[in-house]
Symmetry: C2
Subunit: 137 residues, 2 copies
DNA sequence: CTGAATCCCCACGGATACTG
DNA sequence: CAGTATCCGTGGGGATTCAG
């Protein structure tokens, strides 16, 4: 997502530091935000994967985005890359200790998601049925 | 984010259904993905809030995005809105039961985020220091 | 005070072609 | 195999204005 720092420096003088609420969460949210990071992490939870293995395991991801996603996860210290200078080349991706810790954190969220999937879906249906004409959100 | 369903129907016949991994998580990820949903939910965890209270509590959010975010959260059944037809008008936002459940789920993620904030930051510094010329990711 | 409507920028990300 | 480079469409979201 690449959230630029709050630009206007909050004109209304806030009594409590907003950083108490969101600061720090941003770092994680920026990873969850893009389309692929979580999927890559989940796939790597199953074990070490090569580039094309990740590519096959994650339907729809382009080579470009797989490269960008792994790079960003490496930068955040979630993923470790090992290159074997063979011919043809081989590179292994695996979760770091922090990466596994992160995957555990999102696993609970995934559980919640599965448990409430139908409830969310029905809530949306209800909403959409009640206002068919509106094209907001 | 509005993730379109996996388009190519996985040309390479995958042995295991990719939907086992991501399906269902998407619904939640689409909420976490945007810049503001989580912040709004976290703020509402503290209690019922009026529109301008949310606006002040969440630095940087525009009126437009606050409206869109609350609407989407309402559609997902996370937030309930109460309008008092006074003059000037007053509207209260509060979490539903599912909304509170959701906030509990992301609370653990927020904890993880705070605990690893410095580790992530230092990892990024390390990365950026090692390759100053690269402008990827 | 609580929005709705409009304009518009730009970052995310897909498609494609090229390289070691 | 494992990327890199380039072009380009789409939509998320900021700024601003109008309305009840």
């Amino acid at each position: 997502m690449t959230i630029a720092a709050p630009r206007t420096a909050s004109g209304t003088t806030n009594t409590h530091d907003p950083c108490d609420d969101d600061c720090g969460i941003r770092d994680v949210l920026d990873r969850l935000g893009d389309r692929w990071s979580v999927l890559v992490v989940v796939e790597l939870t199953k074990g070490t994967r090569r580039f094309h293995e990740l590519h096959r395991a994650i339907p729809g991801i382009s080579q470009r985005m797989l490269t960008l996603t792994t790079r960003r996860l490496m930068r955040d210290g979630m993923v470790q890359r090992t290159v074997y200078p063979t011919i043809p080349p081989q590179t292994d991706y695996r979760l770091t200790t922090m990466g596994r810790s992160f995957s555990a954190a999102i696993a609970s969220l995934a559980d919640w998601s599965r448990q409430h999937k139908s409830a969310i879906a029905s809530s949306r249906e209800q909403w959409d049925a009640d206002r068919p004409a509106r094209n907001d959100l």
